[in-house]
C-alpha cells in the first residue's frame, strides 16, 4: 500500500492541475492564459518525471539523461525563436 499511496496522491494532483488548466482556459485570455497553461503543464511534467518515471529513485547520470531531452527541446525553441520573434513582417 505504501508504494501505491504516493502514486494515487500524484494522480490526484495531476487531476486537479488538469481542472486548473480547464478553469484557466475559461477565466483568462491573451498572454496570461498562455503563461498559466504552460506553467501548469510544466508542473505536471515534473510530477510525471519525478514519480511515475522513477527519477526520484535514480542517480545523477540517469537524471541527467532524462533532462537532456527537455534541454535540447529548449535549445531548439530558444534559437528558432531568435528567428521567429525578430522576423520583419514585410
Amino acid at each position: 500500500m505504501h508504494v501505491v499511496r504516493p502514486l494515487i496522491f500524484v494522480w490526484a494532483a495531476l487531476m486537479s492541475l488538469l481542472a486548473l488548466t480547464i478553469a484557466a482556459s475559461f477565466a483568462l485570455t491573451g498572454p496570461l492564459s498562455l503563461v498559466t497553461s504552460m506553467g501548469v503543464a510544466t508542473v505536471k511534467a515534473v510530477l510525471v518525471y519525478w514519480f511515475f518515471m522513477h527519477l526520484r529513485e535514480e542517480g545523477g547520470l540517469i537524471r541527467l539523461a532524462a533532462i537532456a531531452g527537455i534541454a535540447w527541446l529548449m535549445i531548439f525553441f530558444f534559437l528558432a525563436l531568435a528567428d521567429y520573434a525578430t522576423r520583419s513582417s514585410s
Partner: protein, 555 residues
C-alpha cells in the same frame, strides 16, 4: 554441403596461399562457417564485418551516381541525363552517401569492432540490439534500392519543403521512409555505445585512460541519440501534412516553410559532426601511432570531441542565411558557427604538436592520416568563410559550398575510413598487405581528391550554382579538370579492395601487434579469438605511453 566444402578448401594445406595459422583457427572468423552463423551472430566483430560489406556496397552505389553526374558535366550541354534525371542522380547520391555510407561508416564498422577490444570487454552491452540495428539498416537500404529502381526522387538529400510536400514528384514518401527507418539503426547504435562505454570498461580503464577513438565515438553517440529523433519527427511531420492535411510547412494551411529548414538543420548540422567526429578519433589514434609519442594535450583532444558535439547543436541557422531567416538570428548563428571551429582547431594543433619531432612512420595508414589533416583544415577553414554573413550571400548554393563539405566529408571522413581500414586490417583479418600498394593508393586518393574538388572552389567563387548540369561555356575547363580528378579518384578507391582482398589468402600472418602500437586491441592475437580476451585485462598504464625516441636535432 557447400559450407563443408568451403571449410575443406580453406584449411587444405596443399592449396596455394599461406596456410591457416593457429590464431586463425580459433579466431572469430572461423567460429562457424555457415551463412546463418554470420546472419544470426551477435558477435560485435562479425556484425562489424556485415556492416563493412553493406556500407562499402552503398559507397559504390552512391559513387555510381556521382560518376554519372561528373560525366554529364564534361560539357556545358546536357548530354547524358535529362534535367529530371540529373536531379534524381544528385538526390540519390546525397541520400545514399549521407545515410547509408557516411553516418554508419566508421562507427558501425571500426567502432563495432574496436569499442569492446579497446576498453577490454567481451562484447557491446546489448549484442542482439547490435544485430537488430544492422537489420534495420538493411531494411532502410532495401527501401532505398527500391526507390532507385522505381525511378528515384528529385528533392535533393535535404527533402526541402515545398519540393517534398506541395510540389513533390517521384518517390518522396518512400525515400523519406527509408531515411526514417535507417534513423532507428543509428539510435540503437548510439545507445549501445553509450551504455557500453559507461558500464563495460575493464578494471583500471578510467575515463582519463580511454583511447581517443572511444572518446570521439562517445561524443558521436550522444549526437546520434539526441539528434536523430528530430529527423524522424520532421519526416513524420511531412507525412502528416501530405496525408492528413495538417498545416505545418504549407503556408496556405497556416504552416511555415522555413520551419522545415530549422528542423532539418537542427538535426543535420549535428549530423555532419556524426560524420566527421569518428574520423577525428581515428586520426588521433593514427597520429599517435605514426609519431610513436603520447598525444599532446590528451585531455584537450578528448574534451574537444565533447565540445564539438555540444556546440554543433547551436549553429544550424548558418544554412539559412539567405532563406529569409531574420537578420538578428543570422548574426547569432554566424557567431556560434565561428565558435564551433575552435575545438576543431584544437585538435589540429594538438596533432601537429604530437607529430613534432616524432619518428614519423610513412606507412599507408599514416599517409591517410596526414592527408586527412590537410584536407580537414581546408574544409574547416572554408566553413568559417561560409559562416561570414556577407561572404555567404555571394557563394551560397554554389560549388563553393559543394567543395567545402566534400573536403570534410570525402577528403576527411573517407580518407580516415581508408586510414582505419589500412591500420586495423591486420588485426581484423590477421594478414599483412602490400605496403607499397597501400602507399600508392593513399597518394592517388589524395591527388585525385584535390583535382576533383579544388576546381570546385574556383567554380563556386566564379558563380557556378550547384545542382545544375547545363552551364555557361566559360566554366568548362574547371569542370573537365574536376571530372578528370574524379576518374583518378574512382580508380584509387577501388585499388585497396584488390590488394586487401589478395592479402586475405596470400598475406603474411600479421602477428598480434604489427605496428608496435599501444592499446588493448593490440595485446590479443590477430584475428582476435571469439571472446576477445582470454582473461579480463587490467589497465595500469596511461594511454599512448610510447617510449619517445626524438630525432637528432640541435635544440
Amino acid at each position: 554441403m557447400t559450407s563443408d566444402h568451403m571449410v575443406d578448401a580453406a584449411s587444405h594445406p596443399a592449396q596455394p596461399g599461406i596456410a591457416e595459422t593457429a590464431e586463425e583457427r580459433v579466431s572469430y572468423l572461423r567460429a562457424g562457417h555457415t551463412l546463418g552463423s554470420w546472419l544470426f551472430t551477435s558477435d560485435h566483430k562479425r556484425i562489424a564485418i556485415l556492416y563493412f560489406i553493406s556500407v562499402t556496397f552503398f559507397f559504390f552505389v552512391g559513387g555510381a551516381a556521382a560518376t554519372l553526374m561528373r560525366a554529364d558535366l564534361l560539357t556545358p550541354q546536357a548530354d547524358l541525363l535529362s534535367d529530371e534525371g540529373y536531379n534524381r542522380a544528385f538526390t540519390l547520391h546525397g541520400v545514399i552517401m549521407v545515410w547509408f555510407f557516411l553516418i554508419p561508416s566508421i562507427p558501425n564498422t571500426f567502432g563495432n569492432f574496436l569499442v569492446p577490444l579497446m576498453i577490454g570487454a567481451r562484447d557491446l552491452a546489448f549484442p542482439r540490439l547490435n544485430l537488430l540495428s544492422w537489420y534495420i539498416y538493411m531494411l532502410g537500404g532495401l527501401f532505398t534500392i527500391y526507390v532507385l529502381i522505381a525511378g528515384g526522387v528529385d528533392t535533393g538529400w535535404t527533402f526541402y519543403t515545398p519540393l517534398s510536400s506541395m510540389f513533390a514528384n517521384g518517390n518522396v514518401v518512400l525515400a523519406a521512409t527509408a531515411v526514417f527507418i535507417v534513423g532507428f539503426s543509428s539510435i540503437l547504435t548510439g545507445l549501445n555505445f553509450i551504455v557500453t562505454i559507461h558500464k563495460l570498461r575493464a578494471p583500471g580503464m578510467t575515463w582519463g585512460r580511454l583511447p581517443l577513438f572511444i572518446w570521439s565515438l562517445y561524443a558521436t553517440s550522444l549526437i546520434l541519440v539526441l539528434a536523430t529523433p528530430i529527423l524522424s519527427v520532421t519526416l513524420a511531420l511531412i507525412a502528416a501534412e501530405r496525408l492528413f492535411g495538417i498545416g505545418v510547412f504549407n503556408p496556405s494551411l497556416g504552416g511555415d516553410p522555413l520551419l522545415y529548414q530549422h528542423l532539418f538543420w537542427f538535426y543535420s548540422h549535428p549530423a555532419v559532426y556524426i560524420m566527421v567526429l569518428p574520423a577525428l578519433g581515428v586520426v588521433s589514434e593514427l597520429v599517435a601511432a605514426a609519431a610513436r609519442k603520447p598525444v599532446f594535450g590528451y585531455q584537450f583532444v578528448a574534451g574537444s570531441s565533447i565540445a564539438i558535439a555540444a556546440i554543433g547543436f547551436l549553429v544550424w541557422g548558418h544554412h539559412m542565411f539567405v532563406a529569409g531567416q531574420s537578420a538578428y538570428a543570422s548574426a547569432i548563428f554566424s557567431f556560434l558557427s565561428l565558435a564551433v571551429a575552435v575545438p576543431s582547431g584544437i585538435k589540429v594543433y594538438n596533432w601537429t604538436a604530437t607529430l613534432y619531432k616524432g619518428q614519423i612512420s610513412l606507412d599507408p595508414p599514416f599517409l591517410f592520416a596526414m592527408s586527412f589533416i590537410g584536407l580537414f583544415v581546408v574544409g574547416g577553414l572554408t566553413g568559417v568563410i561560409l559562416a561570414m554573413l556577407a561572404v555567404d550571400v555571394h557563394v551560397h548554393d554554389t560549388y563553393f559550398v559543394v567543395a567545402h563539405f566534400h573536403y570534410i566529408m570525402v577528403g576527411g571522413t573517407v580518407s580516415a575510413y581508408f586510414g582505419a581500414l589500412h591500420y586495423w586490417w591486420p588485426k581484423i583479418i590477421g594478414r599483412r598487405y602490400s605496403l607499397a600498394w597501400g602507399r600508392l593508393s593513399a597518394a592517388l586518393i589524395f591527388l585525385g581528391f584535390n583535382l576533383t574538388f579544388f576546381p570546385q572552389f574556383l567554380l563556386g567563387y566564379l558563380g557556378m550554382p550547384r545542382r545544375y548540369h547545363v552551364y555557361p561555356p566559360e566554366f568548362q575547363v574547371l569542370h573537365v579538370l574536376s571530372t578528370a580528378g574524379a576518374s583518378i579518384l574512382g580508380v584509387a578507391y577501388l585499388l585497396p579492395f584488390t590488394y586487401l582482398f589478395y592479402s586475405m589468402r596470400y598475406g603474411k600472418p600479421a602477428g598480434a601487434n604489427p605496428w608496435e602500437a599501444t592499446g588493448l586491441e593490440w595485446s590479443i592475437p590477430s584475428p582476435p579469438p571469439k571472446h576477445n580476451f582470454a582473461e579480463r585485462p587490467t589497465v595500469t598504464r596511461a594511454p599512448y605511453d610510447y617510449t619517445i625516441e626524438y630525432e637528432e636535432s640541435d635544440d
